[in-house]
């Protein structure tokens, strides 16, 4: 049985099908909750033929920048050319986070599966947050 978690953890990057329209996903997404204590911002960028996610976690005085991680995009149907969801994975050393997302009526729904691997006693947990797009993509690097 294949293990997609291991595949992603190995640093796989995903080539984007050039025919897939990424316009609904690329850009800068902000948490709909001003007081969010989880992820406060997501940025999706196309670099060459790869799409990358950048996550910012709630912090004080500034947000924590998790850096870039490769993302894999998905359409709503096999016949569709419009990308409406993506997945990504972060291995941050002390914890791993799997992100699964989808668009619903212009809102980006982000589900997170969080695993702690530092022996701290924190339980693996599930989260769900909602994001609106604050800025459409302006350039492709």
């Amino acid at each position: 049985m294949s293990n997609p978690i291991s595949d992603e953890a190995a640093g796989t990057t995903f080539a984007v099908e050039r025919t897939l329209d990424l316009s609904a996903l690329l850009g800068d997404w902000r948490n709909t909750n001003d007081a969010a204590t989880g992820i406060v911002r997501l940025v999706l960028t196309l670099i060459g033929d790869r799409i990358f996610l950048r996550v910012f976690g709630a912090g004080h005085p500034g947000a924590f920048d998790w850096g870039d991680a490769p993302a894999e995009v998905f359409a709503e149907l096999p016949e569709s050319m419009q990308a409406t969801s993506f997945t990504s994975h972060y291995d941050l050393g002390f914890m791993s986070v799997w992100l699964q997302t989808y668009l619903a009526k212009g809102v980006l729904v982000v589900v997170s599966f969080n695993r702690f691997q530092d022996g701290s006693g924190r339980a693996n947990y599930f989260g769900k947050e909602f994001f609106f797009r604050s800025q459409k993509p302006v350039a492709v690097k």
Binding site: M1, S2, N3, P4, I5, E17, T19, L20, T37, G38, I39, G57, A58, G59, H60, F64, W66, E72, V73, F74, A75, E76, L77, P78, E79, S80, M81, T84, S85, T87, L92, G93, F94, M95, W98, Q100, Y102, V111, F113, N114, R115, D118, S120, G121, R122, A123, N124, Y125, F126, G127, K128
Partner: protein, 141 residues
């Protein structure tokens, strides 16, 4: 305690923290709420200790009738403080495509998201795609 989100910072792990997550709440057979679904019709969850095995069945039209069984690769509680598992990730390899499934319990439903990645795009005629389905407990489960 290292953290990259405010919500992951805990001053103290409670004595009742349960890092070992029991998946027992998934146990049984789940039926798609949409009787006309072209996708997954049934989900069967088997629990052995802290191990959760997931078997999917399609109706044989747009999805194969038998997906085989996968072991959940990650179990998550509802919060960082622990408790019973209420979500999981599992991967399925159907040969022509790999599917990462993310699931969570919500209001008595098993909500499952499927991210389908074709291993051979057949000349670009099919896009990787996302689907989301809802399952209720079988009356006999």
């Amino acid at each position: 305690m290292k953290h990259l989100r405010a919500q992951d910072r805990l001053e103290r792990i409670g004595a009742d923290a349960r890092p070992s997550l029991s998946p027992s709440e998934f146990s049984g057979t789940w039926v798609n709420t949409n009787t006309d679904t072209p996708g997954i019709t049934h989900v069967t969850c088997t629990v052995e200790g802290d191990v959760l095995r997931v078997r999917l069945e399609g109706n044989g039209s747009s999805e194969p009738s038998g997906w085989g069984e996968a072991t959940a690769e990650l179990l998550c509680a509802a919060s960082i403080h622990g408790g019973p598992a209420m979500s999981f990730i599992a991967g399925f390899d159907l040969g022509f495509k790999k599917v990462q499934a993310g699931a969570n319990l919500n209001q008595g439903l098993l909500v499952m998201a499927f991210y389908h990645s074709f291993q051979n795009h057949g000349g670009g005629s099919r896009s990787n795609y996302f689907s989301r389905e809802f399952f209720h407990r079988a009356a006999w489960s």
